[in-house]
C-alpha cells in the first residue's frame, strides 16, 4: 500500500496518467479545496476592488478590512430558508444548480498547474474542457424553466442563445491556437493541455505573440467570448439586474443561490485557465528567452516568496493604520496574524526545494489572477449590452474575425 | 469476472435501439419522438465505435458523421415542429395528418 503511494513520487507524470488512484484523489481534493478558497478570496477581492473603483470602502465590518465577510455571507446563505416555489418543477429546480456546479468543477480535471501538477492529462483536453464547460448552459436553462416564472424563463432563453453563440467564436479561436501547436518538425499538433504548453516551450514563444498579431487577435476573441460564456458584465444579460430582476436565478434563495454563485466564479477561473494555457504559456515563467541564465532563474524563482512578503507588508501597513481604539483590538490582532501567516508563507517559499516545486503553480495562478482582475475591471467600467447587440457582436464580428484568423494562421503555418 | 468484450457493447446498443424504436412507435409527443430517434442514432454510434475497436478507426469517423446528421436532423425537425405548433397549436403526432396547412 505504502509502496503504491510512494511509487508515484518517482514518476514524472500526472497521477491520472500514472493510473495512481490514491494520488489522483489527493489531487482532486487539493484542487477542489484550492478552487473553493480561490472563489472565496475572489468574492472578497471583487467586492473590495469594485468598491475602490467606485470610491467606497466595501466590506469593513466583519474582520479586519472585511476579510471574514465571505465566511459570514456563506453562513448567512446556508442558514437561510430554502424556498422552492409551489408551482416550480421540484426535481429540476433542485438539480439545476448542481449541474452548473458539477460542470464548472469537472473542468479542473485537465487544467495543468504545472508540468505534472494536473489531475490527469487527456489527449482531448481542450475538447473536454470546452464540452464540459458548455454543459453549464443546461443548468441555466433548467433553472429558468423550472422556476415557472416569466423573468427566469426569459433569462434562461437569453443565456442559452448567448452561450451557444459565443461558444462558436470561442471554438474557432481555440482551433487557431491548436493549429499553432502543430508547427514543429513532425507537423503533429496536440489537444492535450500539457502538450499545448510544452509546444509553446518548444517553439520558444507564447502563442499570444506567435504570428503577431494573429495570436493576439485569437486571444482577444477568446477573452471576449469567455466573458460572455460566464455571464459576466458587460454580457450579463441572463441575470441583468435592472431588466430581469435576477434572470434565471430570480426564484432561488439561500443555499441554492449560493451554489449558482459558486458555479459562476468557478467557471470564471476555469475559462481563464484555458486562456492562460492556450495563449499565455500556462505555467511557464515570463521572459524565458531574453532574461536567461542562472541568475535570472534564481531571481524568477524568488518572486513567489517576494510576492507573499509584499502582501504581508501591505497587511502589516494595514495593522499600523488600524484605529487605536480598544474596540479594534481583536481586529488588529487578527490582521497582524494574517500578515504573519502571509510572511511565513513567503519565507517558506524561499526554501530551495519548495521554491522549485511551487514556481510553476505560482506563475499559472498569477496569470489567472490577472484575468480575474480584468473581470472586475470590466464590471466596473462597462454598461450592459442589449440582447440583439450581443448577438450581433457574437455572430457578425467575433465569428468572422475568428475564422479569418484561423485561415491566416493555417496559411502562415504552411508557408513559414 | 467476465472480461468485457465487444459483444457486451453490441448488446447494450441493441437494447438502446429497441428502446428508441418503442419510443418512436408509441409516444404521441413529437419532441419525445425526436428524442427517441436520437436514442436510435446513439445506439448505432455505439455499435460503430465498438466495431472500430476491431477494424480500425473507420467506425469512429462514421460515428462523427452520424452525429453531424443528428444535428441536422434535430435542427430541421424542431424547425418543422415550431412551424407546426404555430399553425395547429399542438405537438401531437396523431394530429399531424395533413400534407399541407
Amino acid at each position: 500500500m505504502l509502496e503504491y503511494i510512494t511509487s508515484y513520487l518517482g514518476m514524472n507524470t500526472t497521477p491520472g496518467q500514472a493510473g495512481n488512484v490514491f494520488w489522483a484523489v489527493v489531487y482532486i481534493l487539493v484542487v477542489f479545496g484550492g478552487v473553493s478558497v480561490a472563489v472565496i478570496a475572489m468574492n472578497w477581492l471583487e467586492r473590495k476592488a469594485l468598491a475602490h473603483f467606485q470610491i467606497r470602502l466595501g466590506p469593513m465590518r466583519v474582520g479586519p478590512h472585511g476579510l471574514l465577510q465571505p465566511i459570514a455571507d456563506a453562513v448567512k446563505l446556508l442558514t437561510k430558508e430554502d424556498i422552492i416555489p409551489d408551482e416550480a418543477d421540484h426535481f429540476v429546480f433542485w438539480i439545476a444548480p448542481l449541474i452548473i456546479l458539477c460542470a464548472s468543477f469537472t473542468v479542473y480535471i485537465v487544467i495543468p498547474f504545472g508540468p505534472t501538477h494536473a489531475i490527469t492529462d487527456l489527449n482531448i483536453g481542450v475538447l473536454f474542457m470546452l464540452g464540459v464547460s458548455s454543459l453549464s448552459v443546461l443548468g441555466v436553462v433548467m433553472a429558468g424553466w423550472a422556476s415557472n416564472s416569466h423573468y427566469p424563463l426569459i433569462g434562461s432563453l437569453r443565456s442559452s442563445a448567448q452561450m451557444i453563440s459565443y461558444e462558436i467564436a470561442m471554438g474557432m479561436a481555440v482551433v487557431s491556437a491548436i493549429l499553432m501547436t502543430s508547427l514543429n518538425k513532425s507537423g503533429t499538433g496536440t489537444l492535450s493541455m500539457i502538450g499545448i504548453v510544452e509546444a509553446q516551450q518548444q517553439q520558444q514563444v507564447w502563442f499570444l505573440f506567435k504570428f503577431f498579431p494573429l495570436g493576439f487577435v485569437a486571444f482577444a476573441i477568446f477573452a471576449i467570448a469567455m466573458v460572455a460564456e460566464t455571464n459576466r458584465a458587460p454580457f450579463d444579460l441572463p441575470e441583468a439586474e435592472s431588466e430581469l430582476t435576477a434572470g434565471f436565478h430570480t426564484e432561488y434563495s439561500g443555499l441554492r443561490w449560493s451554489l449558482f454563485m459558486l458555479g459562476e466564479y468557478t467557471a470564471m477561473i476555469a475559462v481563464s485557465s484555458i486562456a492562460v494555457t492556450l495563449w499565455l504559456g500556462g505555467w511557464l515563467r515570463p521572459f524565458p528567452n531574453t532574461l536567461t541564465g542562472p541568475t535570472w532563474d534564481l531571481v524568477f524563482s524568488l518572486l513567489p516568496g517576494f510576492t507573499f512578503l509584499a502582501l504581508a507588508l501591505i497587511a502589516f501597513v494595514g495593522v499600523i493604520r488600524m484605529p487605536k481604539h480598544p474596540y479594534f483590538k481583536i481586529q488588529t490582532a487578527g490582521l497582524a496574524g494574517f500578515a504573519a501567516v502571509l510572511g511565513l508563507v513567503g519565507i517558506v517559499l524561499f526554501i530551495p526545494p519548495v521554491r522549485d516545486r511551487i514556481q510553476d503553480i505560482f506563475w499559472f495562478v498569477a496569470k489567472v489572477a490577472v484575468f480575474m482582475y480584468l473581470y472586475i475591471w470590466y464590471r466596473a467600467t462597462f454598461p450592459r449590452y442589449r440582447f440583439d447587440q450581443l448577438m450581433k457582436v457574437g455572430w457578425k464580428v467575433l465569428l468572422p474575425i475568428a475564422i479569418g484568423v484561423l485561415i491566416l494562421t493555417a496559411i502562415l503555418g504552411v508557408v513559414l | 469476472m467476465v472480461p468485457i468484450t465487444t459483444l457486451h457493447y453490441l448488446v447494450t446498443a441493441a437494447a438502446l435501439f429497441v428502446l428508441g424504436v418503442i419510443g418512436v412507435l408509441t409516444r404521441r409527443n413529437v419532441v419525445i419522438v425526436l428524442m427517441s430517434i436520437e436514442l436510435i442514432l446513439n445506439a448505432v454510434n455505439l455499435n460503430l465505435v465498438a466495431f472500430s475497436r476491431l477494424w480500425g478507426l473507420h467506425g469512429q469517423v462514421f460515428a462523427i458523421f452520424v452525429i453531424t446528421d443528428a444535428a441536422a436532423e434535430a435542427a430541421v425537425g424542431l424547425g418543422i415542429l415550431i412551424a407546426f405548433f404555430r399553425n395547429k397549436e399542438t405537438i401531437n403526432v396523431d394530429e399531424v395528418d395533413l400534407l399541407k396547412w
Partner: protein, 384 residues
Amino acid sequence: MTDPTTYLSHLELGEPDKTFLDSNELIINMGPQHPATHGVLRVILKLDGEKVLGTECVIGYLHRGVEKIAENRTYTMFNPYVDRMDYVAAVSNGLGYCEAVEKLLNIQAPPRANYIRVILTELNRMASHQLWLGTHALDIGAMTPLFYTFRDREEILKIFEKYCGARLTTHAFRIGGCQYETYEGFERDVKKFLDFVPPRIDEYEELLTTNRIWLERTRNVGKISAADCKALGVTGPVLRASGVKWDIRKAQPYAAYPEFQFEIPTGANGDTYDRYMVRMQEMRQSLRIIRQAVEGIPEGPIMAKVPKVMKPPVGEVYHSIEAPKGELGYFVVSDGSTQPYRVRVRPPSFVNLQALDVMVRGQLVADVIAVIGTLDIVLGEVDR
C-alpha cells in the same frame, strides 16, 4: 384556505397566455417591485419574445392626494407639501409654488432673494441631473457612475443643509422671498463647488460619452420626434433633445433669470443619447448661471412685504417654471379665503411618462429600462 384566485375573479383579468411563440404574446408585469422602475411604477408589457408590442403604465402607488391637501391648508402651510412631490428637486417645486402664490398676491420678491433662489434652484438642477445620470447608467448596466455622481451630489446637499437645515425636502423658500439670509461662507462654499465640479463632470463623460457599449445602448433608442413631443405635451430635456429650443427660463423668464446669460442645449435625433448629452450640457450651463449669480449677488432685503394672514384676491393664476424634468406648472385658484380653493399641479414627470409607449413600441425589453431611465421620472411627482 381560500383560493387566492377567487378574489381576482371579479376583476375579469384575462388568463395570460402561457406560451410565447410569436402567435401568442407574453404579458409581463414590470414593477411595482422592480429594481429599474425608479420606485413604484408598474408597466404592463406586451411582448413578442423580447420585442415590445405595447405598454400600459399603472400609476398611483404613491398617491397621497397632495392637491386635495392644499384645499385644507393655508397658503403658507401648504408650502412644505410641494417638496414631497419631486423629492429629488424639492427646491424647484418650492420655487414654482412660491412664485405662483406671489403672482396671485401681486407681490415681488426682492432681487437678493431672487438671486438666492436662482443659485439654489440651479444647484438643485445639478443634483437632480446627477441622480438621474447615476440611476440611468445603473439601469443600463454601468455601476460606477452612480457612486461618482452621488459623491458630488453630496456637496450640493451639504450646501442645502447648511442653508436651511434639510438635505432633501428643503422648504428653502417662503412666499415673498426667502426666510433665511445666506449663512456665513455661503458664497465661498458655492464657489468652491463651482471649481471642483467641472472636472467631475468630465469624469462622468469619460466613462460614458464615448463608450461603445453606451453608444450602442442609447443611440436610436427611444426615439421621439419633435411633433410627437409637442402632441404629448412633453417638456424639458426630452423635448429639447428632439430639437425644440424651448426653455421656460428663456421663454417666460422668472426669478432672476433674465439677468443671466446661458445657452439652451438641444439635440437633433431625440434619442436616448441626445437626451443624455442635453442633460450633461445643462449641468455645465447650470454652473455658468450659478457663477454669474454668485458673483453678482446684490445686497438688500430677502423678504418682500407680505401680509401675516394671506388672503389673495379672488382669481386664478397659472405659473410655470423650468424644473429639472420639464415644465412644472402650478394652477392656483383663490376664493378670497386663507386657503386655496384649488391647486392643480402640472408635473413634468407625469406628462413625460405618457411618451413611454410611443418611445418603446417595437423596441426590446432592455430599451424599456433605458427609456424609463432617460425620461427621468420621479414617482412621487407622477402620483402626487
